[in-house]
Symmetry: C2
Subunit: 306 residues, 2 copies
């Protein structure tokens, strides 16, 4: 990670838990950081930490050498680029637009083509690691783009990421690798939820299930992380059910367009949809376990807890 | 792990990759080990390492303080206990039958009741860890049974296991926890296979996919272990497709009997069935990835390999 004062300005569009953490890492690395979010309170939280407030994507982007977009999806990315007061027309020639939202490869290619046609660079750069690692400048980035895009984004990547996978020389590749991860992550949350409810319905001790599985061949990163939320009976959204409705939806769209059967992912998506339909769309994605438990008429309590 | 010479005799019924490894660990711990297998070559392999050959389960069991059964399923366990020349009637009063096969909890309870009615002990003791850890005496055992059963099996558990989870005081509980693990393990193999073929169909570099996923939130123990077989194009059965046809079949039977919906596991089972139907029942369980690749019309090769 770099440190000290830098001459360059970086715009951060979208100051949710991930964008805010990345903006802090950039401030700490010495960049002048211009932040924009539709939520004014998010912008004020950044200015209190040394960032500069911007009233629109265009205002944030106009002096920036790099524009980091950390919005939710392809539609919001298009909006901050090409909507009213968008960053697209305001960016300096030769500046780089680094897009971190999870989206379909075709969407990333489309946005990149429009940005590059205007003489700016585009880095397809989906991220993973969660809010805490964002704040620590320790994200994983799956990046693809031209050599110029990588060069223009180099110091920014250095400030926000512990690990950058350089997966190719064109936009869309970063997105494609990210969707493979999202397929697995979504299936693993659904499977973990199904297994915990199946165990609870048999009267097994869920803390014992957790202790066994996390040391066995049935373990997954998602089981270990998300089933702790279930044991704690804490469904505060670290990542919401609606995120996997979106991401497994993208997987299903890609699969259908390519005539690629993905029955396991499609079934997992149905479980996220049922959970959202049951009123838990905004709750933590481990809420899929609550949906299963409700269906099975069982409770997800560890023994020895009230 | 204990060492030195012990006075007691242990019978091992079933000398496949797991049973043979456990028998070796018992020989090393100083037990007199009487081995039985329908395959004479497996018995001879054990006698070359210091074990004693037995011509039937009864012959192996008659002097033994503990009988370790490492056959494939409930039907084979019933057969070595109560079939012709079975161990059940031959065992000494007070000896323990330690059953390691993966089976439904109801099957374990039924066998335990018959063994205990005859004045012997039964330890429901499914194992995990694979052939190498069996040979090292480093398995994980999910054990349930009476205090007497645990006491009678204590030194044997010490010799074969690195970790014993004592999950309850009655047969069936060990089996139940094991089935939760098998649900997850089976789903994760199917999901890993689906994700790798989905990636291959998009032209992604599968070695890069492996490197990214194993450091990301989409990782699972099974992805990391089995997808290495896919990258190596090596489908020599370490664990065969047919094992998960059986184990996810048990999960589905249990779920149906209890009116418990398990749609993700049921979908994964269909993928193992398709792989078996395509002629790969005896191949490594990572062959599910080959089935997906065939369906998708793609190849599972890492770039830079022929």
């Amino acid at each position: 990670m770099s440190s000290g004062t830098k001459s360059s300005v970086v715009a951060v569009l979208g100051l949710g838990s991930m964008g805010y953490g990345m903006a802090l890492s950039l401030v700490r690395a010495g960049f002048t950081v211009a932040g924009y979010d539709v939520n004014r309170a998010a912008v004020e939280r950044l200015t209190a930490e040394g960032g500069r407030a911007a009233g629109s994507p265009a205002a944030a982007a106009k002096d920036a050498d790099a524009v980091v977009s950390v919005v939710v999806n392809a539609a919001q990315t298009e909006s901050v680029l090409f909507g009213e007061n968008g960053a697209g027309a305001a960016m300096k020639p030769g500046a780089v637009f680094m897009s971190c939202a999870t989206m379909a490869p075709a969407a990333a290619r489309g946005l990149a083509a429009r940005v590059e046609a205007d003489g700016r660079h585009y880095l397809d750069a989906p991220i993973s690691g969660g809010a805490q690692r964002a704040a620590e400048g320790a994200l994983t980035v799956l990046a693809s783009g031209s050599a110029d895009a990588f060069e223009a984004a180099d110091e920014v990547l250095d400030a926000v990421a512990a690990k950058v996978f350089r997966v190719g020389d064109a936009a869309g590749l970063g997105a494609a690798y990210k969707m493979v991860n999202q397929l697995l992550a979504g299936v693993h949350i659904a499977a973990a939820s199904e297994a915990m409810a199946f165990a609870a319905a048999q009267g097994l001790d869920l803390q014992m299930v957790y202790d066994i599985i996390t040391k066995s061949a049935g373990n997954s990163w998602m089981f270990e992380n998300r089933m702790q939320h279930v044991l704690d009976d804490d469904y505060t959204p670290r990542s919401a059910v609606s995120i996997f409705v979106k991401d497994l939806g993208i997987v299903e769209d890609m699969a259908r367009a390519g005539h690629l059967p993905v029955p396991v992912a499609a079934t997992a998506l149905q479980m996220f949809l049922m959970t959202a339909a049951a009123g838990m769309a905004g709750d933590d994605d481990s809420s899929v376990a609550r949906l299963y438990a409700d269906l099975m008429g069982t409770e997800l309590k560890a023994k020895g807890r009230s």
